[in-house]
């Protein structure tokens, strides 16, 4: 469902972030993208979300070249992809409940749907007793779980998590990874970027290894070797 064809990305003036990258991700896969800092993981995700255009190559999502999506249809495209980031990116003036509900409101969900879905999602991520809190008062793990609940709220086909555990201690890290696995088992494609060796080795799933903007390894049941 996701196809990268000979993708290169050069940031002006001359930073080569990705070099001739090609891979395919099928529905219902759990794929990790690993690489050192600066290897190009975030860039790859930005290209997939069309936050940045590729310098060369083609990205196909659900059979469609995403470069051809019109600007006005971009929100709709992004709504179908759930995103989780290292820095959480929660709306500071909204409560946990409202942050999750926001994603649904964007899709035009009814109030009834929101009132029944959001508590259920908060339960999945284990935040039912934090619904009325603002992000500022939450721990990193709680913030990230809120972000995951928000990503799930749109019933996405894919969840993309860019170093979701980058700011978390090992305990919370395991929490989040378990949550992502649970989401995967419920039938959602998960793309996880990380440079955490422990995570990769414990997952035992497909790993794409980037180095200096190039794919140096892409294997099922991959291990963290750099």
């Amino acid at each position: 469902m996701i196809l990268f064809e000979n993708i290169s990305k050069i940031y002006k003036p001359d930073t080569v972030a990705l070099k001739n990258v090609s891979f395919q991700i099928n529905p219902n896969e759990f794929v990790s993208i690993v690489g050192k800092s600066g290897a190009g993981k975030t860039t790859l995700i930005k290209l997939l979300l069309r936050e940045e255009p590729p310098t060369t190559g083609r990205i196909v999502y659900a059979g469609k070249n995403i470069a051809e999506i019109k600007n006005k249809d971009l929100p709709l495209f992004r709504q179908k992809i759930g995103c989780v980031f290292q820095d959480y990116r929660l709306l500071p003036h909204k409560t946990v409940f409202e942050n999750v509900a926001y994603a649904m409101e964007l899709m035009g969900a009814t109030d009834d749907e929101i009132l029944s879905d959001v508590p259920r999602l908060l339960e999945i991520v284990g935040l039912e007793d934090r619904a009325k809190h603002f992000p500022l008062g939450l721990s990193g793990g709680e913030k990230q779980r809120t972000a995951i609940a928000r990503a799930l709220a749109v019933r996405p086909e894919v969840i993309i998590a860019d170093e979701p555990t980058g700011n978390l201690d090992p305990y919370h890290t395991r929490d989040i990874i378990k949550l992502l696995e649970k989401i995967y088992e419920l039938g959602t494609t998960v793309i996880l970027s990380t440079h955490d060796k422990v995570i990769i080795n414990s997952l035992g799933r497909r790993v794409i290894t980037l180095d200096n903007g190039e794919i140096i390894r892409d294997e099922e049941k991959g291990r963290f070797i750099l």
């Binding site: 979300l49 929100p75 995103c83 990116r89 003036h93 926001y102 964007l106």
Partner: protein, 302 residues
């Protein structure tokens, strides 16, 4: 569509109250701006009032030679009243003049006594003439100074008044235009500051905007709450400014009434309260919304 609007309004409302500091700054700047602009209107009102007062005070007094008969004076009066430029002509007889003098100097026994000693009435009968417009006195003077009236007119009391009045009205016009220019400049500055404050407030929200975009919010879903915030800020500022002006004019009115030759700012304000509040509300909301829109534009280009 209704759900969309309801949500946008709720988001704007929440953001306004939860974002705190910068919204307070925005409202504060808007209050200052609106108050300043409204003061401009009030001072315009005061100046107009003073001008009217001055115009009201201009008149020509024509003193008649002592041997002019009452009939003759009446005749001249009728002739003058017939002129299209003349608003009103009042006859002040010798007796009237003396009575006025006595009244005016009733606390000055020496003067009154000397008047008694003279025995006869030393005052002249006069005609007080008012023109419809201050510019029309020239035409009236021409008639008064014409040869046919030469024998009965003893003295025309306009020239002295005229210079004083002209100086004064010239001064007031200068003050008026100068004040207007100053107020206008201040108004422009205030508007710019308001724009800038709101721009900064939204710059502060730029990260939030990028998050909204990332989770797939359409432009109108992002813009909407900011417009609502602009409306709320504008409305609150208008209300606050209105109350401030109400109190200000109430307490200031008695203190400056003599300065403004009987102009009562408070009653002036009250008599126009509805229109002024409407003006403040509209300009406050317009300022808030327009500056929000301008500020947010650059964050919405996909």
């Amino acid at each position: 569509m209704f759900t969309f609007l309801r949500r946008v309004i709720r988001f704007g409302w929440h953001n306004f109250w939860r974002a705190g500091g910068l919204n307070i700054a925005t409202v504060f700047v808007l209050i200052v701006t609106l108050t300043l602009i409204t003061c401009l209107f009030i001072s315009e009102g005061a100046v107009n009032h003073i001008m009217d007062q001055i115009k009201e005070k201009i008149d020509i007094s024509v003193y008649m030679t002592p041997d002019t008969s009452d009939e003759e004076i009446e005749l001249i009066k009728n002739k003058l009243v017939a002129m299209p430029e003349v608003q009103e002509v009042k006859i002040v007889s010798k007796e009237d003049a003396m009575n006025q003098f006595r009244e005016k100097h009733q606390n000055d026994p020496v003067l009154l006594e000397s008047l008694d000693i003279v025995g006869t009435n030393p005052f002249y009968a006069s005609l007080d003439i008012k023109a419809k417009n201050p510019e029309q006195y020239a035409a009236i003077l021409e008639v008064i100074n014409s040869d046919s009236l030469k024998d009965v007119v003893y003295k025309v009391d306009y020239v002295e008044k005229k210079t004083v009045i002209e100086k004064l009205s010239g001064f007031i016009t200068n003050v008026n235009t100068g004040g207007l220019a100053l107020a206008l400049a201040l108004g422009v500055v205030a508007v710019l500051v308001a724009f800038n404050t709101i721009r900064v407030a939204i710059y502060d929200a730029s990260k939030e905007i990028s998050i909204m975009r990332l989770v797939g919010a359409s432009n109108s879903f992002i813009r909407g709450p900011f417009i609502v915030q602009g409306i709320i800020s504008g409305a609150i500022a208008a209300l606050a400014s209105f109350i401030i002006l109400l109190l200000m004019t109430y307490f200031l009115a008695p203190k400056i009434e003599s300065l403004t030759s009987g102009f009562n700012v408070f009653s002036w304000f009250i008599s126009r309260a509805f229109g002024l509040f409407f003006l403040q509300l509209v300009s406050g909301i317009a300022l808030g919304v327009i500056s929000s829109l301008i500020a947010i534009r650059k964050y919405l280009t996909a």
